[in-house]
Each structure stands twice: as structure tokens, then as C-alpha cells.
């Protein structure tokens, strides 16, 4: 016979509006083993928590049911409450009557009836709860950061400055990310490289940061506090321990590859560093462009290298890294706009993507900072097209947040560098951010022409060969506009990296329908994920600008620190165990477990579970033909009792 206390929360009107909470509490008091049932406006508030604690003592409760919001919100809070009051923290059941009842129901009869059924199930389940003892584990103090853009760089420096060991993993041969490609940053127009490269260099010099460029994650094992990550070091064909960064090889190389950094606008050498301030300053060979790899002879780089650093035999290697926490900051891509044939990207040489335009402004870019078309001429009229693929139900519904502002920046730079007329074709100008509206007003003053209307088509001019016609409806005047221009810049949707689904799979991150990583809670846990110990920062979560990205990176660093600054931490006790008396030795559990937690003890002829490896999914319990495996906190008896309770009403 157990002694259960039921505590029904109103959550203001969030719950009380569509569930009769006092009736629910009265109903609870009629259920078996319930010795006290109350309702209160905010159970999670201090008086609410005290009410529970007092009742535990006064009524000698041994089990508590909190009927409130989702267990994903406050299970932890109430576990601490009952633990403080002397109960084992697992003697708690949460009934989710907010997210799964009151918020999805408009009828108070329906809501109350459903809440009663759920509560009845919870009482049945609670009667069978058993105390569990938490596991305490040692915590590794290192942190891995995946992605070496501004988010990863910022987080790495913050963490390294606290004295923690940081492994910064980047798939390209340099860190810097997209920010390294920009010329100026809005709204201050400060030089992107000037503010970024000192940080890149600080990463390289920092004694606590191990920089792992040209690396990819190949396997992630373990759990919060003890991740065991296998990193693939891709073959660079240059021994970086020997290379002294003289770059003589890059001068002699005859191979031609596409410059990723210059968005394919120019070629680069096969052996190369991506850009002059790359970190590290040591080259890699692009196999697909290397004359030796393609034709079997050349090896000019080898001949000029005094350090004997070139190694055509180099293979991929694997490095094992152990860390306590991980920050994923893998950034974004711009949508490929060539499938949107109406804009002519890839068809007309005068149509550029936003990142290509960035490179045209940059003094280290393909045109040394001069704005010229592909034929070398200076444009006389330029149209900047907003919302290409974003705010578009046929492609990406989301607003990419930065395009309005960088389009305004482009307009300023075009005005500064050319004598062209500049036109903005926009749906709305979204200038929410510190100094953004002011920047917008400044650009209006600079004689940039704003046409409110989404462009329908970019076509070739029939009168003036080589020129383009931009067609749109000006929704302010209601007139159809046909504007001849020489250059069109598209501001495409910001989308997740092409490999975000795979990265998500490796780190057990959920993704939204487009592949952006999901945060644990959209407002209150925007940097945590459902995988404990793994955090996200920057544009891999959603489109955002540099200030927000940097702020998130700092936040993620602090979150990671809350884990790795501890020597030990408590883990969920909800693991599986084997009852050796009924184990038949079939070893099904050993075969199915993704973590290798069950091991077969040949001496005793039974399986045993290594609790340090068990994550508590309960798979083994379901494949056990003799029910010898017990999934703690989700035992067959507990789940069946809950089902029975649910079906009674």
C-alpha cells in the first residue's frame, strides 16, 4: 500500500482555462492509494514547491504525482523538490496536462475528461515505482567544437581562456568560415578580415586549443561527460610537421582547381592555401586538380620543397579524442539558385549570387576589389533581388534574416566603387538590430532606388544585347516594371549545410524539415539539444547575423563549461538490469544493443549489463524472451499498469 500525493497545477489559465482543475484534484482523491490531492495556481513556484514538500512530511507520502506541464519542462525541478523532502527522486510521475491536453483542446469537458484518464494512468504507474540510485561518473574536462567559422572560433577562444582543453575541428583546410569571405560587415562597415583574422591567429597560438583542420567527424561514442570521438584527418599530401609555410610549391604548381573561397569565380592552384590569411598557413593538395594524381607525372611541388614535406603516399588517418562536451557550429550554405530558372543564375553571366558579389568587393578577391562584370566592364545599372528562395512557400518558408542588411551593404559598396544606378527589389525591409534601421536610412540617403516587389523574371534584353531586363510589379505604384540592368545580384535563402543530416545523426541531433538543428527549447534552452552535453551555436541552428552568432557561441561555451568544470556528474539511473535467475542465455540483448552495454558472462551463462554504457532505451528489455531484463523506470509492469489506468476512463 503506497501513499500518493497528487498536485494539480493551474499554470495560471494555461491549464485552468480548458481543464476544471479543482474537479481534477477531487477526482484524484478518489483514486487508490491517493492520500492527498490539491490544486494550486503555479506548482513550480516556491509556495507550490513548499506545498509539495510539506505534504510529503505531513502525510508521509512515498510517491508524488505532479499534474502540470510536460515532463520535458519540469521533471527535473520536481525531482529536486521531492528529493529535498526526503524521497527518492524517481518516486515522481508527471502528468502532461498542458502541452498534451489544455493547449490542444478548446472544450473544457473534453479537456477535463482526458486529464482524468491520464491522471488515472499515472496513479496506476506511480504505485509500482521503485527508488533508484543515480550513477556518478567522472567528467572529462575537454570540449570539442565542430566547425571553425566565427561561432566555433569564438567558442574555442572563450573556453580555452578558462583553461579548458579545446579541440577545434574544421573540414576545410583553414578556419574562418563564411566570415573570411566577406569584405565589409553591416551596419558598421568595418573590414571583416580585420576583425576576424586576429581571432583566427589567436586560435592557432593558443596553448589550450588543438586545431584540427581538414578533418571530419567519423564516429561519436559515449555520453555526456565522456564522449569518445573518432576524427578522420583527411590526407593533405603535405606533411604539416615538416612544412615551413614558404609556399614555394604553390607558385610552381601547374594544376588548376576551382577556388572555393572565391566562389568559383577564379581558379586556384592544385596545391594551395585557400586565401592569404588562412590558418594554418600550410598548403594541401586538391587531388581532383593535381596533375600528378590525374596524369601520373608532374611532382613539381616535391622538387621545389626544401623541407621534403610533400608526401603523395599520405593516407587518411584517424584520431581518437575524448571530451566531456561538444559544441556543434557547422554553419550554413546559400541555396543553389540555378533551379529557379526565372532568375537566370548560371544562364546569364550578369547574374551573381550574394557570396560572389562579396568576393567582387574584396581586395583579395578575383578582381582585386574592382566591381567589374565577367567581361571586365563596369556595370552601369545594378539590381539587387531580395528573398530568392526564402520567404517563399515553394522553397524555404523562413526569412533568412541577414539578406536585407547585406543587400543594403552591397548597395553602399556598389555606390562607393562604381557610378552605377543601384536598385533594390524587396518584399519588406527587415532592419531589426542595433544600428540597422539607422543604416537603412543612411542607404536611402545615398540615392539607392527601392522598388517594393518580388521579381518575377530576369530576361535577356532584346534591344541591347548583353544587358538584362528585370521584371517585377511595383506593389506601391501598382505598375509593372521592366528595368534594364547590367548586373543582377541574388540574395538567396540561407540553408543548412549539405551534410547537416549526417552531422545530426552522428551527434544525435534532431533537425527541422530543412535540416537546421533543433534546440532543446526554442526560448529557454536555445543552445542545448536533446542530447545532453551537446550544444549548438550559430547558423546551423537558424539563419542569423554575426553579432547573434558570436553571442550564441559565448553562450554555448558557458553551457559546455557547466559540464566540464565539474569533476563528477550524476547520470540518469534509468538503465537496464538482468535478473540472472530468469536469463536463458540467448544473448539477444548482446546482439541488439547499439552501445555494447550487455555482455555475456560465459562462466555464469547469463548476460550482464555494464551500466556505464547503458543509455536506458529499453531495447534489450523488449527483445528478452524471458523478460529477464528490466528497463528501470519503464518496466513492463509499470507501462502495463499505466495503459490499464488510461483505458479505464
Amino acid at each position: 500500500m503506497s501513499r500518493i500525493g497528487v498536485f494539480v497545477c493551474h499554470c495560471g489559465l494555461n491549464i485552468a482555462k480548458t481543464i476544471r482543475v479543482s474537479e481534477l484534484a477531487e477526482f484524484a482523491s478518489t483514486l487508490p492509494d491517493v492520500v492527498v490531492a490539491r490544486d494550486y495556481r503555479f506548482m513550480c513556484s516556491t509556495p507550490g514547491q513548499e506545498m509539495i514538500a510539506n505534504d510529503i512530511k505531513e502525510h508521509r507520502l512515498d510517491r508524488v504525482i505532479v499534474t502540470a506541464c510536460s515532463p520535458l519542462m519540469h521533471e527535473h525541478t520536481f525531482r529536486k523538490v521531492i528529493e529535498k523532502a526526503g524521497l527518492n527522486q524517481y518516486m515522481l510521475t508527471i502528468v502532461n496536462i498542458r502541452e498534451q491536453v489544455s493547449w490542444v483542446t478548446s472544450d473544457i469537458e473534453e479537456g477535463t475528461a482526458k486529464a482524468k484518464a491520464l491522471l488515472n494512468g499515472a496513479v496506476y504507474r506511480a504505485r509500482l515505482l521503485a527508488p533508484l540510485s543515480s550513477r556518478v561518473i567522472d567528467v572529462n574536462s575537454g570540449v570539442m567544437i565542430v566547425g571553425g567559422g566565427i561561432a566555433g572560433i569564438q567558442a574555442a577562444l572563450e573556453l580555452a581562456n578558462t583553461g579548458k582543453k579545446v579541440y577545434l575541428v574544421e573540414k576545410n583546410s583553414t578556419i574562418g568560415g563564411h566570415m573570411a569571405q566577406f569584405d565589409k560587415t553591416f551596419p558598421t562597415l568595418d573590414c571583416s578580415a580585420c576583425i576576424l583574422t586576429p581571432k583566427m591567429d589567436a586560435v592557432l597560438q593558443h596553448p589550450n586549443i588543438t586545431l584540427m583542420t581538414y578533418c571530419e567527424i567519423s564516429e561519436v561514442k559515449g555520453f555526456v561527460g565522456n564522449f569518445d570521438i573518432k576524427v578522420r584527418q583527411k590526407a593533405r599530401y603535405v606533411n604539416h610537421d615538416k612544412c615551413n609555410a614558404c609556399l614555394a610549391c604553390t607558385e610552381k604548381c601547374p594544376g588548376k582547381g576551382i577556388s572555393e573561397w572565391d566562389e568559383g569565380l577564379v581558379k586556384r592552384k592544385a596545391i594551395h592555401i585557400p586565401f592569404p590569411q588562412a590558418v594554418p598557413q600550410k598548403p594541401v593538395i586538391d587531388r581532383d586538380a593535381c596533375t600528378y594524381f590525374l596524369k601520373g607525372k608532374c611532382r613539381l611541388c616535391e622538387k621545389v620543397c626544401e623541407q621534403k614535406a610533400i608526401d603523395f603516399e599520405q593516407q587518411d588517418t584517424f584520431i581518437d579524442v575524448k571530451v566531456g562536451a561538444v559544441i556543434v557550429a557547422t554553419g550554413y550554405n546559400l541555396m543553389d539558385t540555378s533551379p529557379l530558372v526565372q532568375y537566370g543564375y548560371g544562364k546569364y553571366p550578369g547574374v551573381y549570387s550574394a557570396l560572389e558579389a562579396e568576393r567582387l568587393f574584396n581586395s583579395a578577391g578575383p578582381t582585386s576589389g574592382k566591381v567589374t562584370l565577367r567581361d571586365g566592364k563596369e556595370p552601369q545599372a545594378i539590381a539587387i533581388l531580395h528573398c530568392i528562395g526564402s520567404r517563399d512557400k515553394n522553397n524555404y518558408e523562413h526569412c533568412s534574416r541577414v539578406c536585407c542588411m547585406y543587400s543594403l551593404k552591397f548597395a553602399h559598396l556598389f555606390k562607393e566603387k562604381t557610378s552605377a544606378d543601384v536598385y533594390q527589389f524587396y518584399i519588406d525591409i527587415r532592419a531589426a538590430g542595433k544600428g540597422y534601421e539607422e543604416f537603412y536610412n543612411r542607404i536611402i540617403e545615398e540615392d539607392v532606388k527601392f522598388i517594393r516587389g518580388k521579381v518575377a523574371r530576369v530576361a535577356e534584353s532584346s534591344d541591347e544585347p548583353g544587358r538584362l531586363i528585370v521584371e517585377a510589379e511595383d506593389t506601391i505604384t501598382g505598375k509593372f516594371v521592366q528595368l534594364p540592368v547590367d548586373m543582377v545580384v541574388l540574395s538567396p535563402a540561407m540553408i543548412p549545410r549539405e551534410d547537416s543530416k549526417e552531422v545530426g545523426r552522428l551527434f544525435n541531433l534532431s533537425t527541422d524539415k530543412h535540416g537546421f538543428f533543433m534546440e532543446r527549447h526554442p526560448k529557454l534552452a536555445p543552445l542545448s539539444t536533446m542530447s545532453e552535453g551537446i550544444f549548438i551555436a550559430g547558423t546551423c541552428q537558424s539563419p542569423k547575423d554575426i553579432p547573434d552568432t558570436v553571442a550564441q557561441a559565448n553562450g554555448a561555451a558557458a553551457e559546455a563549461l557547466t559540464i566540464v568544470s565539474r569533476e563528477k556528474m550524476e547520470l540518469e539511473a534509468t538503465t537496464a538490469m538482468v535478473n540472472p535467475a530468469s536469463c536463458c542465455g540467448c544473448q539477444n540483448c548482446v546482439r541488439v544493443c547499439p552501445y555494447g552495454a550487455p555482455l555475456f558472462n560465459y562462466e555464469k551463462g547469463v548476460s550482464e549489463i555494464n551500466e556505464a554504457l547503458c543509455k536506458g532505451c529499453g531495447l534489450c528489455a523488449s527483445v528478452c524472451p524471458t523478460s529477464a531484463i528490466i528497463a528501470r523506470h519503464f518496466t513492463n509492469e509499470q507501462v502495463l499498469a499505466e495503459i490499464e489506468g488510461l483505458m479505464e476512463f
Binding site: 502541452e99 498534451q100 490542444v104 483542446t105 534532431s510 541488439v592 531495447l619 513492463n636 495503459i643 483505458m647
Partner: protein, 143 residues
């Protein structure tokens, strides 16, 4: 009074349960007939949970897990998928109407999918009427 079916939902913690929470957070309304039991992984679902629910008079059972390949526990839902496919066959062999048992992969971001599935499934069960094939007192009556 119109027939209001009792439907058992079993949802994994990481995807479908979180997706159901999201449906709530975004205030998507759906019929109240599905009552959800949370398990950590769809692979935890022992077929006996489903058989028992039908014996106790459930008019339908809806199981939700992460999309295959996206399981929080790597491969758990792949085992669940096979086991539940067999479960469905056994249920039908035992005489249950095919439409009463359904498995759906609903991710944590698919609150709208959760609401849609519940709406659709509830309507389907209403169409089928009360479940009598596996309900225990019905069985006892027959015996």
C-alpha cells in the same frame, strides 16, 4: 451520444513525444481521444503493451517513433519497425480490423504532423466503431 473512441498512443521521448509537446506549444487543436504513454524509445515497446491495450478495450493503438535512421539510440527504431510490423500481422491474424493499429514516424519538429495523424486516425477509428474483437469481456461472453 456519438461514439468517442479510446485510443492508446505510445510515443518515444525524443521525437514523437516532443513533437506532441510542440503541437501543444503551437496550440494546434486535435481530438482528445488519444492518450499518450511515454517510453524512452519505440524499441522499448513490447508487443504485449499493444495486445493488452486491445484486451482492455482500446479502440485503436497509435505508436510513434523517430524517423528510421534518426533514432536517438541510433538503431532502436529499426528493431521497433520490424517488431511492430510483425505485431500488426499477429493482430490481424487474431481478427482485429487492419485500421486499428498504426505506426507513424514523427520527429520532434513535426508538431503539425502529430496533430494531423491524431485527427486522421481518430476519424478512422470512429468510422470503424467500437473494437470488440480482442476486448476481454467480449471474449468471455463468447466463451
Amino acid at each position: 451520444m456519438s461514439f468517442e473512441p479510446k485510443i492508446l498512443g505510445i510515443a518515444c521521448n525524443w521525437c514523437t513525444y516532443t513533437g506532441a509537446d510542440l503541437a501543444g506549444t503551437t496550440r494546434l487543436h486535435y481530438p482528445p481521444n488519444v492518450r499518450v504513454v511515454r517510453v524512452m524509445c519505440s524499441s522499448r515497446i513490447n508487443p504485449s503493451f499493444i495486445f493488452r491495450a486491445f484486451q482492455l478495450g482500446a479502440d485503436g493503438v497509435l505508436v510513434g517513433g523517430c524517423h528510421p535512421g534518426d533514432c536517438h539510440y541510433n538503431t532502436g527504431n529499426l528493431y521497433a519497425r520490424r517488431r511492430l510490423a510483425v505485431t500488426k500481422k499477429i493482430l490481424e491474424f487474431a481478427g482485429l480490423e487492419p485500421g486499428r493499429f498504426r505506426v507513424e514516424w514523427i520527429s520532434a519538429s513535426e508538431g503539425n504532423k502529430f496533430a494531423e495523424v491524431v485527427q486522421e486516425f481518430t476519424a478512422q477509428i470512429k468510422e470503424l466503431g467500437p473494437q470488440q474483437k480482442l476486448k476481454i469481456d467480449e471474449l468471455q461472453e463468447k466463451a
